[in-house]
């Protein structure tokens, strides 16, 4: 099993590295810009995949953290004129919001369904509040919030403490894609620690975890805050990528999309949500180039097909087919085949 895990990590690492280095050479700038967006959405997907797929916390309003990160970055970078601190604020603020919400939800023993409802409501509150900030009286320092028009001309991320060295689109690609790869390996490592294993155990059976003497509430709180911080990072990169933010970052559609990416890619995996986010973002963009079919309808249909036919998602399905083949021993006797069969069962 350890061997199979090592092979998997090596393959993912190689593919990731090849994409990181190869795509800027192979693609034109416009396509690279699109791929950068897919990478940012993959980070967003990873942030929810971590707390939902592994921690079992279903957050229906994950866009609250994404949007807060986006607006926090925009407001901070406009006021400070330099992106080092804003980038950290864009992660710290959503993490603090998640920790605060998590404290009331998990320590208050609120049931799973209500956690979903509460997070959804929080996202809606943000959406409506920010949406109604049109007019010159709504500003934070030098940053005009702009209501439904959003904030234009937000400066991109620059090299740390060098406000003049802003990243060009190609640098943004390296940053975003590099972040996806780093997060994949970082979260894999985190999930292998005691904290990570206990988190998965909480998903499986929370009361058993407590009977063993672990504080499930604290584990969920920390996981939720990490998820919030990563969603904030995605929000920050998103604004830096487009130099623009509007209240749609808080929208219910945005929240629902993240859930669909993960369901299609494979909840309970890290690779699945990355693939799901990239593939479906690409598909949505492609559909957007024509007028006949509505993108949301196609997304809905895809979700239906996956829930009914591929409930485990793309990544586990491919893993089940390719995994045993990759690690097949030279003389695979009946015992090894039986073991592989049982692992699949």
């Amino acid at each position: 099993m350890a061997r199979r895990e090592a092979v998997r990590l090596a393959v993912v690492g190689a593919i990731g590295l090849a994409l990181l280095v190869g795509l800027p050479i192979a693609l034109d700038l416009f396509t690279l810009l699109q791929v950068t967006l897919y990478a940012i959405m993959a980070i967003l997907a990873l942030s929810l995949a971590f707390i939902w797929g592994f921690g079992g916390i279903l957050c229906f309003g994950h866009s609250a953290f994404f949007g807060l990160g986006a607006y926090a970055y925009a407001v901070a970078v406009i006021n400070l004129g330099e992106s080092t601190a804003p980038l950290l604020i864009a992660m710290a603020l959503p993490a603090a919001l998640a920790a605060g919400l998590g404290y009331f939800m998990f320590y208050g023993r609120i049931s799973e369904v209500y956690v979903g409802v509460i997070t959804l409501t929080v996202a809606l509150i943000f959406y409506n509040c920010v949406n109604s900030t049109a007019g010159p009286e709504y500003h934070i320092g030098a940053a005009l919030l702009g209501g439904f028009n959003g904030i234009p001309n937000v400066p991109s991320i620059n090299l740390p403490f060098m406000p003049d060295a802003t990243l060009d689109p190609e640098d943004m690609y390296y940053l975003s894609m590099g972040a996806v790869i780093a997060l994949y390996f970082g979260l894999t490592a985190l999930l292998a620690t005691r904290f990570g294993r206990v988190l998965v155990a909480i998903r499986e059976n929370e009361s058993r975890v407590e009977f063993l003497g672990y504080d499930a509430r604290l584990h969920k709180l920390v996981a939720f805050a990490i998820g919030g911080a990563l969603a904030g990072l995605a929000g920050c990169l998103f604004v830096s990528w487009g130099n623009y933010v509007s209240p749609t970052v808080f929208s219910v559609v945005q929240s629902a999309q993240i859930i669909i990416w993960i369901m299609v890619g494979g909840p309970g995996t890290l690779l699945g949500p990355i693939v799901g986010a990239a593939a479906l973002s690409w598909l949505t963009a492609e559909i957007g180039t024509q007028q006949t079919i509505n993108a949301n309808m196609v997304l809905g249909a895809i979700l239906l097909v996956f829930v009914l036919l591929v409930p485990k998602g793309i990544a586990p399905m491919i893993g089940e087919r390719v995994g045993p083949w990759l690690t097949r021993r030279r003389a695979a006797g009946p015992a090894a085949r039986l073991a592989a069969h049982e692992e699949r069962a």
Binding site: R194, V200, A201, E204, S207, L212, D215, E343
Partner: protein, 242 residues
Amino acid sequence: MSAAAPLIETRGLSMHFGGVQAVREVDFSVAENELRCLIGPNGAGKSTFFKMLTGQLRPTRGEVRFRGTVTSGLHPHEIARLGIGIKMQVPSVFDGLSVRENLWISARRRNPRRAAGRVVERQIERLALGGFAERLVGHLAHGQRQWVELGVVLSTDPTLILLDEPAAGMTEDETVRTAELIQEINRSHALIVVEHDMHFIRMIARRVTVFDRGAILTEGDVEQVFRDPMVRDIYLGKQVAA
């Protein structure tokens, strides 16, 4: 004996659900390294009593003390950390994880990484789980899952182990083996066992506490309790006579 230095004791422990008095004024104590069985008919309050010991329920009145520390009102994970392990009637395990992972999560609570690995190996050997250590617990048979849960409980090395109907749903062979295991575990741990199966009680018990209508009816040596006409006729009926 048990009055001198009880491991766990309850004083005036009561639980009311609305107007229903599920447990009434129970004074109960178990000594270090004792093996105690709780029996009684359905609805006698055994499960409610059990849940107050583990912190799943907060008593309406009275208190639970574990080695002198008041545990009533503490959170389940805090009670677990004092050294109380619990095995539920329906196996409470991590179905989506392998047997080895189940044990590891338990062993890792008090042990560093390497030591936890050794604890896991020891439990796999002790409970003969080696044949299916890499399989998902959710795919195992009921009896196997019961033993996995026992292994999970033992891996935290608790001072006191609470077992809720450990032989429920087991075959005759599995029951005998479980009885042997409980005897073996009792060499190093105190146990409180809730059980319905009189045959099983006979195999393991020394002292028995009989619950009825939320209170302790009688308490004593297993043979003496089973001879008690009141226990025999009214609560245990034909099972013991047979």
